[in-house]
Each structure stands twice: as C-alpha cells, then as structure tokens.
Symmetry: C2
Subunit: 237 residues, 2 copies
DNA sequence: CGTAAAATTGATATTTCTCAATGAGAGTGG
DNA sequence: CCACTCTCATTGAGAAATATCAATTTTACG
C-alpha cells in the first residue's frame, strides 16, 4: 500500500549538514543567508508515483530536491505526455515557474525534498542581487538544456535519442559523484519514451539493438555502457 | 547584391521614442535608467539572411530586436537544423545566453536591432534587483515556451504542429498590435519545417490540406485563417 | 509461489521522409 | 516588355522509420 500523504519530518535538519548544500541555489548563499533559510525550508518525503505538484495549479511552494528522482511533464488533453526533464538531487523546482505551474512533477521512486513557501522564498531573494543573478544563471542553464532537447526531439532518430539520453544521464550522475559506466535508470521505459518523444516499444527495441550491437548491456535497474565511445558517437554531439 | 556588413546608424535615436520601448526589458526601466541605457545601445541594421550571431561564438553583445524577424537555431554537425524560436520586435536576445551563444541567429528579411556591449549591459543590471527580477521573468517565460515547444515536437502530429504554429504566431503578432486573421509569414517553408521538426514537403502538404479543408487560405507572403475556431481545435490546446 | 506490472518481441499499419519532377514568382539583362 | 534563370513551393510515388496492436516473457512484489 502507498502512503497517501507526504510525511513531514519530525526533527528538522539543518542546511549545514544538507547533502545538496554545495549544489544549486544553496551554493550561492553565505553563512547568514543559510541560517535564514534554515527557518524557511521543511523536509518532506514522497513515495514512488506521488505527485509533488501539478500543471496549472497555483504555485505555493518551491522545492529543493534532496534525494531521489522526479519526472517533470506536461500532459495534452487527450493524455499524451511529454516529459520535459528529470530532476536530480540539487535541482531546484519552482524558480522556473510563474504563478501557476508549467508542468507537473512526480516522484520516480522515493523522494525527499526541502520545501519552501513561495511567498517566503520570494521575499527572501527579493533584494539579494547576487542570489537573483545566481537564480538567473540556473534558469538560463535550464533554458539551454531545453533548447538542446528541442534539437533532440525535432531532429534526431530513435537511436540517436536513446544514445543522447544515456550520455546526458551519465553526465548528470557524474556531477553528483556517481562516475561509473553502469547507469542506474530508476525511471521506466515509458518515462524514457515520453522524454524522447518515442513509444515504449521503440525505446525497448532500441535498447535491445544497442545491446545486440555490443554498445550497451541491459542490467537490472539500469544499463552498462560497454562501449562508451560508440554511445557518444551515436549521440552525435 | 547584398550589403556585406551591418550598417551602424549615423544619428543615434533615443530610447524615449523607441518603438519597442514598452516591450521586453525596457518596460521595466525608470526615467533615469532609460537615459543611462541611451548611451549603451547602438542601432544596427541587418539585411535578409545575415547572421547576427553564431552558436558557440563568445557572446560580446546583447540585442534588443526593434524591427523585423529573426530565426534562432541550432545546427547538428551533419547540417540538420532545429529552429528553437523566432524573435519579434521587443524580444531581447542575449539574456538567455551564457559566455558562449547557445544558438545562432539570423535575419529573416530586414532587421533592426539595438545592440549592447555584453559587459556594459551586465554592469548596468548588476545591482538593480528590479531589473534582475524582470529579466528573470522574461527568461522564465522563454523557458515555459521552450517546454511547450517540446510537447509539440515530441508528441504532436504534423497537422497539429502546423496549426499550433499558426495559432502561436497569431498570438505573438496580436501582442504587437497586428490583430488580424491574415498572418504574414515572413519565414520560408524550410524555416517552418525546421521549427516544427518536419520536412519542407510535409509542411507544404499540410498547408495544402488545411486549405483544401477550408481551414486556411494560402495567400502571397502568408496565410489567412478562414476558420480560426477550427485551427484552434486542431492545435488542441 | 502466484499475481500484476513492466518490458520485450513480432506482425502490420501509418506517418512522415526521401527522391524526383513540376510549377510559380522575383529579379535580371537583353 | 519579355525571355531567362534562380529560388522557393508544391505535388507525386515509393521507401523508411516509427507507431500500433497483440502476444509473450521477465521482473517485482506480496
């Protein structure tokens, strides 16, 4: 059975010993600001498949992802889904959002976040130019990734899409310290398909083909990049 | 013959009587800031197909588009192109760009821009929280559009893509005051194709089909939305 | 161990692309 | 003013990639 509601942590930890402290937003904060932030954030847990926030909803909170993976997606009225990104620890969700959410977000596996009230956080950053600049930087980086992804969606073949996905995922995990050629893929095939603009069958067939070609090996819960170089060539810069 | 180099205006106009003054960045500036900006910007003209800046180049300038249309695009090594957006008057190019350009930009027809030195502009905004917030807003809006476009590229049919494009283009022109059902399409079919992740032939066929169905009428230099409602249904919100 | 969900595989359908030809319009030089 | 040429758009026929539908197989989980 699933726990229906997100549980709030009883003993609130401090920013000082936060795992994602050197990542994302918090990296730009000085000692005093961190202390201030300590009072604004609350740790919240979500179980797999729980929705953290939904498209079109009024944005009441911002989230700093501490642990786990989230999928960020948009739905068409007829149910077609496009995943616009996967969030990893250190990613800050909400800055890139106006009064209403542009997309939905839910947990892929267990997730822990640091939640901030939107208004409180807005107030916190309002007159801190260095923080505003930092946030700007982060949003601009996201925009750049979005543009890269447009190229992938609009102009690449299924095989190139899958290869690019693996390379991109690897790079992101590497930045979190997990620098190995065996990639965990906590999201399902359908998620990958909806991220790459493909069907689940095409994703599955492409994985199989890459494995037959000796480029990757499909392992439980992920993939091993047998021939990294070749994956990179397929991803075609 | 084409004029090979962009011509710099001899008599520099003032922000006060700038056509795009109430749009984009400048809308957020007060009297004094505008006067300051007057000294930073230089008007520059480009002729059709001229490149304003190129992908990977070091970003030395920001541009406020005054007149005309620009296409913003990324190229794959093998020449495939994805247009990530079209810029219209009032759009500010550069904020969303880091040290190196994320994409190339060139003129679709004649273009006039107000050019700023990157360093001077950065200095200008550095300690103006209200301006930083405004820029944030604009980048976030762009990111939202990018995410919408991902849905289009990844999950929509050719017909839906074309219909969405027409609706989106109409909305943008309407914001500039041109609120009619006859849309000028200054960009060519290949540009539309590269924006929508289609081939030129598919775009052409889709236009023809929409015309046969009595939804649009293809006119020289553009398209008339005969049955706006139906276009909107096809665009499928 | 049994059941449900997820992934894979196969056969076929459909969409979109590719290649090739034709047609229309804009600008040029005679 | 009229051929001429060039580019761009359209159209057609066939090919290819990916989607769809259906059936297994595998994995995860109680």
């Amino acid at each position: 059975m699933k726990i229906p509601f997100a549980a709030s942590e009883p003993n609130q930890p401090h920013c000082d010993d936060c795992a994602v402290r050197p990542l994302g937003i918090c990296a730009a904060l000085d000692r005093g600001e961190l202390r201030e932030l300590d009072h604004l954030g609350r740790h919240v847990h979500f179980t797999s498949h729980e929705t953290v926030f939904a498209q079109e909803e009024l944005t009441t909170s911002f989230y700093n992802l501490l642990e786990g993976v989230m999928r960020l997606y948009k739905l068409l009225p007829d149910g077609r889904r496009q995943i616009v990104g996967f969030a990893l620890p250190g990613d800050f969700l909400g800055i890139a959002i106006s009064a209403r959410n542009n997309f939905s977000a839910d947990a892929v596996g267990a997730v822990a976040v640091c939640r901030f009230s939107r208004t409180a956080f807005m107030q916190f950053i309002a007159d801190k130019p260095h923080l505003l600049r930092r946030i700007n930087e982060l949003v601009i980086r996201e925009l750049g990734q979005a543009q890269d992804h447009m190229v992938l969606l609009g102009r690449r073949s299924a095989e190139e899409k899958v290869a690019s996905f693996l390379i991109g995922w690897r790079v992101r995990l590497a930045r979190l310290g997990d620098a190995t050629n065996t990639l965990p893929l906590p999201m399902g095939r359908q998620d990958i398909a909806d991220f790459l603009g493909l069907t689940i069958e095409t994703v599955s067939r492409t994985f199989t083909k890459l494995e037959r070609d000796g480029v990757i090996e499909i392992v439980p819960g992920g993939v091993r990049l047998v021939d990294l170089e070749r994956v990179e060539v397929l991803a075609a810069a």
